[in-house]
Symmetry: C2
Subunit: 226 residues, 2 copies
């Protein structure tokens, strides 16, 4: 019997990434077994949530022993689609684009930046400090086809965002990480994750406002009780 593809939320996927990071650290430390409680303590998460997340994908744990760190890590890599090579093209060779191209934070050994593309002739043919080649945006479809890259990171000026997104989609890429402030429009079969700095700052501004309100209320309450 074929298993149905499981619908998994972005939140679950995000947590799986966190578990993966933790398991990678445990493996490096030479720890062979862990438990949902062990993971929960290390990650300051709820152990029931961890068991629930992992149960979505089948039975990994061994009763009384817990999870074999290496096995579980392999399973999560497989679930996340990180066991095969995954190429990324960064569009925009400005400071943000070159910084992202050289970003050291990837843990999936299989994820790699294959190229940076730009329209600036002065940059085309150069390499980033980390050695990523910079090529012409015109070559995007060719680069995507030859390298099999499946993800594009948009790091272009706001004014170019939608046009570049259209080019990316036409080149056959179906997953985009958008670093521009513009919410680009793409066909339904393409996934865009939007890293919106404005929104992040607004979230923090809101937290600070709540903090200030709470503090003021506290001060007034103390004054009133005198």
């Amino acid at each position: 019997m074929r298993k149905r593809a499981v619908e998994i939320s972005d939140q679950t996927t995000a947590r799986l990434s966190v578990y993966l990071r933790c398991l990678t650290a445990l493996e490096k430390e030479g720890i062979q077994y862990t438990s949902s409680r062990g993971l929960a303590e290390r990650l300051q998460l709820n152990s029931a949530q961890i068991r629930k997340d992992l149960a979505c994908f089948g039975e990994f744990g061994i009763r009384g022993v817990g999870y074999a760190v290496r096995d579980l890590r392999g399973q999560i890599l497989r679930i996340l689609g990180l066991t095969r090579d995954l190429g990324i093209i960064v569009v925009g060779a400005g400071r943000l684009g070159t910084a992202l191209a050289d970003y050291p934070g990837f843990q999936g050994e299989s994820v790699r930046i294959v190229s940076l593309v730009d329209v600036d002739r002065a940059k085309i043919g150069q390499r980033t400090a980390g050695g990523v080649p910079i090529r012409s945006l015109e070559k995007l479809p060719e680069i995507a086809r030859k390298t099999g890259a499946e993800i594009a990171i948009l790091a272009v000026p706001r004014s170019a965002a939608q046009e570049v997104a259209d080019r990316v989609v036409r080149s056959g890429i179906k997953a985009i990480l958008n670093f521009t402030p513009v919410p680009v429009v793409v066909p339904a079969y393409v996934k865009v994750n939007h890293v919106d700095l404005t929104r992040e700052i607004e979230g923090l501004a809101f937290f600070l406002r709540q903090l200030a309100t709470a503090r003021k209320a506290g001060t007034e309450a103390r004054a009133a009780s005198r």
Copy 2:
């Protein structure tokens, strides 16, 4: 009677940011009134959700007329804490840090990057392309106090992340946007928003894997039905 501070989720705050962006655009276009349905169509969101979000903060709409764009925008700016000046210090004057310091995406007129700090003597005393001064990390508490900056953006190497976060907290800053791959540990009264590129890429990898699985299943189903 004093209103109790409302507990609002990060998701709601994120949606308020989206409404704000839309209202800013409407105001620029000279549109004076809108409705939850109008906003919903423009944003491809659910109008009931929009009404519910706005209802958390009191009655803004006028029956039969809708929302006055300018008023609603002002209310959301106030709710998000963007009506007062909000200073940001970027820590780390590498490519990512300087790119973030010059990021053009801020819409709250009140949000500004006050300084970039670093440990590199060659950079201290310089300015970014956008004119943001680069100062010594040692001066962080002084800069925070003098400018009243309340948010720090971490754009330092992975190895320095926790130490820099500790310094930021000691300087009295209570909101952090973390661009390092490290999940920094801070006291409970400090809020950290983590922009984790690894996690974003893993989310996209997972989407691509599901897409591949669905396509394979479709091909097999067509083959079986022949």
